[in-house]
């Protein structure tokens, strides 16, 4: 009886509700589809770029690539001097950068962390992580290259070290702060001086994390081009003199890929392939170290 009285308004309301429900469902579906499309967009470009690097790069990968010097235009050659230069510059950069970075990170985590100067340093460091690398290159060019009027591998290494430092500072700081306070207190209560606690207890506990940071920093600097342009410059010949210009893979790529010579372009892509494989393997390795450490603690 009751139900016979109400239906008219109820049906209208139900219709409105149905329409609203329909609209909400459509909007929801649309958002979910667009979300999937966005993820696909990212993946497509990842594989497209990797595929391009692989297909162009494989043409130039042969023994000559690793045994011959960078050639003059129109002639064949390899990238031996550039690989050597990159290795030397990056090695010096990672050694300087890691030492300074771990020290500064330890200072932040163990001594200055909660003081104002610690907060400010942490903030500045976070900005330096994302600072444009070309600006770092200009800085070293002004302070070192323009003063000595000489491009040098050492200046390039210092520029890259300045890129390593903030990455290592952050990971060292974060990893040391994850070490439980009881470990510090237990060691200190045995009368161990603080520097020994840091060196022998804290670093041991935080080592996988710190190594991960260093590997990630290395992955970042091996592909860096802009800071090397004005510092290490480039060198067509074999050179082991740290105080002279030195070739490096990214800079050679930059010069070669923009050239009209096909042999140069092929070499540039071969360099790109080797560089990409190296960098991606490094970041996978870094992730694996971190992951293994995480699971072993659980």
């Amino acid at each position: 009886m009751n139900s016979a009285v109400i239906p008219a308004p109820d049906a209208g309301k139900a219709a409105v509700e149905r329409r609203l429900y329909f609209r909400r469902t459509v909007v929801n579906r649309l958002a979910l589809v667009l979300g999937c499309a966005a993820a696909l967009f990212g993946l497509v470009f990842l594989f497209w770029i990797l595929w391009t690097t692989l297909s162009y790069g494989l043409k130039g990968v042969n023994l000559d690539l690793f045994t011959k010097m960078t050639p003059a235009p129109m002639s064949a050659g390899g990238l031996l001097n550039a690989f050597f230069g990159s290795a030397v510059i990056c090695l010096i950069a990672i050694v300087i950068g890691s030492l300074l970075g771990v020290a500064a990170g330890t200072w932040l985590a163990e001594y200055a962390g909660n003081k104002r100067i610690g907060t400010v340093t942490r903030f500045i460091n976070d900005i330096l992580i994302s600072a444009p690398s070309i600006v770092i290159g200009l800085f070293v060019a002004i302070v070192i290259v323009m003063q000595f009027k000489q491009y040098s591998a050492l200046a390039g290494a210092i520029a890259l070290a300045l890129l390593v430092i903030p990455v290592v500072v952050r990971t060292t700081d974060e990893m040391l702060r994850l070490v439980p306070g009881q470990m510090r207190e237990a060691a200190l209560s045995l009368g161990v001086p603080q520097w020994k606690v840091t060196m022998q207890v804290l670093y041991r506990a935080a080592l996988p994390g710190i190594v991960t940071g260093i590997l990630l920093a290395l992955a970042r600097i091996t592909g860096e081009t802009a800071p090397l342009l004005f510092t290490a410059f480039g060198n067509q010949y074999w050179s082991t003199d740290l105080l002279k210009p030195m070739a490096s893979v990214p800079v050679v790529m930059y010069q070669f890929v923009g050239s009209p010579y096909e042999s140069w372009q092929t070499l540039a892509w071969a360099g790109a392939l080797v560089l990409t494989v190296f960098v991606l393997l490094l970041s996978l390795l870094a992730r694996a170290i971190l992951l293994r450490n995480k699971t072993s603690h659980d």
Binding site: T52, A112, I136, L280
Partner: protein, 329 residues
């Protein structure tokens, strides 16, 4: 006699111990000093970077004064330099990048936190992060070999035909089908910054308390409504922080842009014609420059550094605000 030897040994041991304590204290002080020096070094570097470029640019600043920043002339032959064109190019290419990267990154974060099944989240997140690991010069090479011809043959003519005659935005999309220019550079920049923005968004989306989201689901909300009305408002400042972080990256990116933007220091309203950015101009000209030219480039570097510093500092502050809220909760 038997008692005297331990009695004699005791002071020796005490002296020994106190000597060791002294030595330890000295070592501690030295250790602490070394670490502090390294920490201060980080601080000083930043100030050093800014000051060194200002110092290098003093000649240009003295010559052109404040007008340097408002002059559209860049003429190495007649030694006239103004920063307006490269500043304009830097801002516009970064803005194009953000217009593409922000919605896509949001979509990726949405996919990774709400849509994808659990087994898919890890691999897709890692793959997107791999994009951040690819060296920027390889983006530039890919852009030059693959993307530029594509834009030149297909996209630019289409834009010319369809958007070129529109009022207001028409001039942006008219130009020769070269494939290089701000649009191409901006698009490749977008791909480069997507991993940075999306990983920040994903991380902050995961900080939203589950009970907030579940309350909304219990009231009958759809996934989209939960994300739009619950997750986004909760993480708003941090999301904007992530966007600024990407913007800062896009402003200073050099090697990808240097191939794609065309390197022409003449003003053009078109996004399809060669143009330049601060970073690309410095990368191209610095080694060959002398005197006033070099000084002007250094002053441009100073401008770039100050602008990215402000953008990145704002980003950090906004990200800190969310983590502070987290800490208090």
């Amino acid at each position: 006699m038997a008692a005297s030897s331990p009695a004699a040994a005791l002071p020796a041991a005490v002296i020994d111990a106190s000597r060791r304590a002294e030595r330890d204290a000295r070592a501690d002080k030295l250790f602490r000093g070394l670490l502090a020096a390294a920490g201060i070094f980080v601080l000083v570097t930043l100030i050093g970077i800014a000051l060194s470029m200002l110092w290098g640019g003093r000649e240009a600043l003295a010559q052109f004064g404040i007008g340097f920043f408002f002059s559209a002339e860049w003429d190495p032959v007649n030694q006239k330099f103004g920063a307006l064109i490269p500043i304009y190019g830097t801002l516009v290419s970064a803005l194009i990048a953000m217009l593409i990267a922000v919605p896509v990154s949001f979509g990726i974060a949405l996919f990774l936190t709400e849509i994808a099944p659990n087994w898919l989240r890890g691999p897709v997140a890692s793959a997107i992060e791999l994009l951040a690991g690819i060296p920027s010069i390889i983006y530039g090479m890919w852009g030059l070999f693959v993307f530029v011809p594509l834009v030149g043959e297909h996209v630019a003519p289409w834009l010319n035909d369809h958007l070129g005659s529109w009022p207001l935005i028409g001039p942006l999309f008219t130009g020769p089908p070269l494939g290089i220019g701000m649009l191409t550079a901006g698009f490749v920049l977008a791909i480069m910054v997507i991993p940075f923005i999306s990983s920040v968004m994903r991380e902050v989306f995961l900080t939203v308390p589950t009970r907030l989201k579940e309350s909304a689901y219990a009231l009958g909300s759809t996934k989209w409504e939960v994300v739009w009305d619950i997750v986004l408002p909760y993480t708003r400042t941090a999301v904007v922080g992530g966007v600024f972080l990407g913007f800062g990256r896009a402003l200073g990116e050099t090697m990808a842009v240097a191939y794609l933007v065309g390197n022409s220091v003449k003003f053009t309203p078109s996004l399809l014609e060669p143009s330049t950015t601060i970073a690309a101009l410095i990368a191209n000209d610095f080694n060959e420059s002398t005197g006033l030219h070099r000084s002007s480039l250094l002053l441009l570097g100073f401008v770039l550094f100050v602008v990215t510093f402000i953008v990145l500092a704002a980003a950090r502050l906004m990200l800190l605000r969310l983590s502070r809220k987290e800490g208090n909760a």
